[in-house]
């Protein structure tokens, strides 16, 4: 038995979370064709009390995702001297509590690896850059939970938030998801900054690479539009 959490109001301990029976109508719901590209809405500067933030909303392909990303930093790190900024990324479940915390940590460390290569870390010695990605909602038609599919959107969100915070990055990073594989790129797809593969799915790596590159280029174009628009509005 776990130690009682004294910092939260948990309610009665013998209550069970609501469990839904099998959806009779699920089968009848038509699965939309996932060929048509999903719609993206990108915004920056949505949160006030941080250095940079972004909102990414995706709709289409049988999936609705909304991500909020906020960047805090560069801020002073306590302790010993570090020559380069330390980047930490936290992925947080929204109210759905959809993903396991270990799965979130895994995805977050994948993102950290990408952004350690993307952020010009030597520019910010003795600093920490803390990035939070909040999965406001992540609804998919299929009942299985697949975190890989939202990783490209996380990359987009973090990249935009970093840009909004004015933190130097090598290039706008972006990624794509195809058949269980995730690739992340910079420099027009010439450099791969991350590759995620789940066991047993998506064995056509080369094919996925091309697909992912295509999504990357599309996302990048949208990011540029979003940032340019913001710049124009400022002027």
């Amino acid at each position: 038995m776990k130690v009682q959490d004294r910092r939260r109001i948990l309610g009665p301990s013998n209550a069970k979370p609501i469990e839904f029976g099998a959806d009779r109508a699920a089968a009848s719901k038509a699965v939309k064709s996932s060929d048509e590209p999903e719609q993206l809405v990108l915004r920056t500067g949505v949160i006030e009390n941080c250095n940079g933030s972004s909102l990414v909303e995706v709709n289409g392909g049988g999936r609705q995702v909304s991500l909020l990303s906020s960047v805090y930093g560069p801020r002073a790190l306590r302790g010993s001297f570090t020559a380069m900024a330390a980047i930490s990324i936290q992925l947080q479940n929204g109210s759905q509590e959809k993903y396991d915390s270990s799965l979130l940590r895994e995805a977050a460390s994948f993102l950290s690896n990408i952004f350690e290569a993307v952020v010009n870390r030597s520019r910010y010695p003795k600093s920490g850059i803390d990035i939070f990605v909040y999965l406001t909602y992540d609804l998919e038609q299929a009942s299985r939970t697949n975190i890989a599919a939202i990783i490209p959107h996380c990359i987009t969100a973090v990249t935009l938030a970093l840009a909004d915070a004015g933190i130097e990055i090598v290039d706008l990073a972006g990624g794509g998801f195809h058949g269980g594989n995730v690739f992340s790129f910079i420099k027009n797809g010439e450099e791969i900054t991350g590759f995620w593969k789940d066991e047993g799915v998506g064995d056509d790596v080369a094919g996925s690479l091309e697909e992912c590159k295509r999504s990357y280029l599309r996302y990048k174009g949208l990011m540029v539009d979003c940032l340019m628009q913001k710049q124009v509005m400022k002027e």
Binding site: R6, R8, I9
Partner: protein
């Protein structure tokens, strides 16, 4: 109603306050050296801890602590002790109410006990303070001071009031806290303030008498020498 001062020997100030079936013991230590994260450069930092009559403290006690801190902060001359810390710990001995539903009586007794303990510790204070709890009963619409547990259960609204008193604790300087919950109207609220003021003033005179007694006991020695 009962108030005792200085019953703990290893702290700078202590008090026990009892009203009906609610009883609170409070200790004050300070000004002492704070931990680095507590230190405020220009003011006295307060560490307020409330422990329940039974079980472990949780969010309920955090809320009482927050209210108590709200009352005590303006009362203490915080500017007099920069970079120092004052620890105020209230142990509720008897709640006198259903803890899962109410915290009014505990809060008002905590305020009184903490004020007495601060006086006993001789931490500099701006003014006098007294606190009462009130409830509006359901059927009769009657307003009662320091309601019993049964009265709370059948109450329409409950109120905790803490007043800052000056000029011999005979006039009200300001409202330090009014925490009202339930179902009430503007008229009810002003009635609460009116009756609450009256009973706070009465309580304050009782508290003054208690403290005066204690001081006189301490001074017996000094007076003897002078004479």
């Amino acid at each position: 109603m009962m108030a005792t001062l200085g019953l703990l020997t290893n702290v700078d100030g202590s008090s026990q306050f009892e009203w009906q079936d609610t009883k609170v013991l409070c200790s004050v230590t300070g000004p002492i050296e704070p931990k680095a994260r507590q230190e405020l450069p220009t003011r006295l930092a307060l560490e307020v801890v409330v422990r329940p009559a039974r079980g472990v403290p949780n969010t309920r006690e955090k809320l009482i602590e927050d209210r108590l801190r709200g009352v005590l902060t303006p009362l203490i001359v915080c500017e007099k002790y920069p970079r120092q810390l004052c620890q105020i710990t209230c142990q509720i001995l008897e709640a006198g109410e259903n803890e899962s539903e109410f915290a009014v009586k505990e809060l008002s007794c905590c305020v009184n006990a903490a004020f007495l303990a601060l006086l006993d510790a001789q931490v500099a204070l701006h003014s006098f303070c007294a606190s009462v709890s009130l409830a509006v009963l359901k059927e009769s619409h009657e307003l009662v001071v320091s309601p019993t547990d049964e009265q709370l259960r059948v109450s329409l609204s409950t109120h905790t009031l803490a007043l800052e008193l000056v000029a011999g604790a005979k006039s009200v300087q300001s409202v330090l806290l009014l925490d009202s919950n339930g179902d009430f109207s503007e008229d009810d609220l002003f009635k609460v303030l009116q009756l609450g003021e009256q009973s706070c003033l009465e309580l304050a005179q009782f508290l003054r008498k208690t403290i005066a007694e204690k001081i006189k006991n301490e001074l017996v020695r000094t007076e003897l020498i002078e004479s």
